[in-house]
């Protein structure tokens, strides 16, 4: 997560701590983490 926050900071000029906090909040709020290992292609089809 810190790496993603660091990269986003460079891309959108937001403070990486703010981004990291938001991501951690998502985890606390139990955002659904997909663990069944579906492929990106499958995920793409579901999303469309």
């Amino acid at each position: 997560m810190p790496v993603v926050a660091e990269c986003l900071e460079k891309l959108v000029n937001k403070d990486k701590k703010l981004i990291l906090n938001k991501l951690q909040e998502m985890i606390k709020k139990k955002v659904e983490v997909v663990e069944n290992g579906e492929s990106e292609e499958e995920a793409g089809r579901v999303g469309k």
């Binding site: 790496v3 660091e6 990269c7 909040e25 983490v33 997909v34 292609e41 995920a43």
Partner: protein, 357 residues
């Protein structure tokens, strides 16, 4: 603002909006496999379809690639901001590190970072060069041609035994003089060296290009530019095996994995010069063939199904590779004498127009 920089920022903003909305951050990436590539009869090139895949951060199967995609994106934005250029190799080393408190590396091998760069190209609809990335130099050329490269005049006929090393970006090359009747593209370095030493290009008014295996993007673009800007025929000379035939296919139609840039890299008027199974029989080369491996047969079987290999002569050649279970390398022509390729094989084939199209 540079187009690529704007697109990178848009990608970042899209992900940031996902996060603000509390949604699983994702990136939509066009699929670059055969399932999303089609042969366009009109342009005679392989083109990318419109199927996409989704790469989610909160998905165990996608998380690492999601992180890698952002690492590459952020790195490219820094390059653009600083107006610096670097190679795919450098990018890999610059981004490779072990994540804190884990045994996991951001990237283990360059073959992990290279496809991520292509993912970014197709997702953002920009070229690798616009992301300020260059590939390693591969491919050489000789001929009666003078170019201007970064202000320097380079005469391809006066570069000794080595020839001109083709850079990964040939967009800014200016052709000052091109005196040739055709372009001969050669898969193998050894055959290129033979033809160069025998001054084949001088005697036959040809431009010789060696791809040194599967052609790099710079080499494909250079062939396309020469062929289209100077209306030169392109003859492709490869080993007689499925991989050699596919090199021809990549030069002519574009490749499956880079179908999104076929219009800039493909040269549909290219013709296949050899080696063919008929050559083995007609030139008495049977004693110089080698046994095909299982992987060669399997690749030929796959290619039999490709839409762009459905012409009768291609089906016949591919089936003969499968049935006879033999293959031949360009070097096998030296078995008939070191100058056989220069003095007999190529002049005969070109004179008789013995090409496959």
């Amino acid at each position: 603002m540079e187009k690529a920089k704007k697109k990178l920022e848009e990608l970042g903003n899209k992900i940031w909006k996902d996060i603000e909305k509390g949604e699983n951050p994702s990136i939509q990436i066009p699929i670059r496999s055969l399932s999303n590539v089609f042969y366009d009869q009109k342009t005679r090139m392989l083109m990318l379809g419109n199927k996409t895949a989704s790469r989610y951060f909160f998905n165990i199967a996608h998380a690492k690639k999601f992180m890698q995609t952002l690492l590459v994106a952020a790195f490219c934005k820094e390059l653009i901001d600083q107006n610096l250029h670097t190679s795919l190799r450098d990018l890999f080393y610059a981004l490779k590190r072990t994540l804190p408190n884990s045994q996991e590396n951001t990237f283990n091998e360059q073959n992990e970072s290279d496809p991520i760069v292509v993912d970014l190209e197709v997702t953002l609809d920009v070229l690798r060069e616009q992301l300020h990335l260059n590939a390693d130099v591969r491919g050489r050329v000789v001929g009666n041609v003078v170019i201007e490269d970064r202000g320097d005049l380079v005469d391809w006929s006066k570069l000794g035994s080595g020839g001109w090393a083709i850079p990964s970006n040939v967009e800014d090359i200016i052709f000052k003089k091109v005196k040739a009747d055709y372009i001969l593209v050669i898969e193998k370095n050894a055959a290129f060296e033979r033809l160069h030493e025998d001054k084949f290009w001088q005697k036959h008014k040809a431009i010789l290009v060696t791809t040194q295996g599967q052609p790099a993007r710079g080499t494909r673009r250079l062939i396309q530019r020469l062929a289209t800007e100077f209306n030169l025929p392109v003859y492709v000379f490869t080993d007689l095996d499925a991989y050699g035939l596919y090199i021809y296919s990549v030069i002519k139609y574009g490749s499956i994995s880079l179908a999104h840039v076929s219009d800039r890299l493909g040269t549909p008027n290219s013709k296949f010069l050899g080696l063919t199974m008929d050559d083995i029989d007609n030139f008495g080369l049977k004693d110089f063939t080698i046994k095909a491996e299982e992987v060669d047969i399997k690749r030929a079987q796959e290619m039999l199904k490709y839409e762009w290999f459905q012409k009768e002569e291609w089906q016949r050649l591919l089936k003969s590779l499968i049935q006879r279970k033999i293959k031949a390398e360009l070097e096998s022509l030296s078995g008939k004498g070191l100058k056989f390729i220069t003095e007999t094989y190529l002049p005969t084939k070109i004179k008789n127009q013995e090409f496959l199209d």
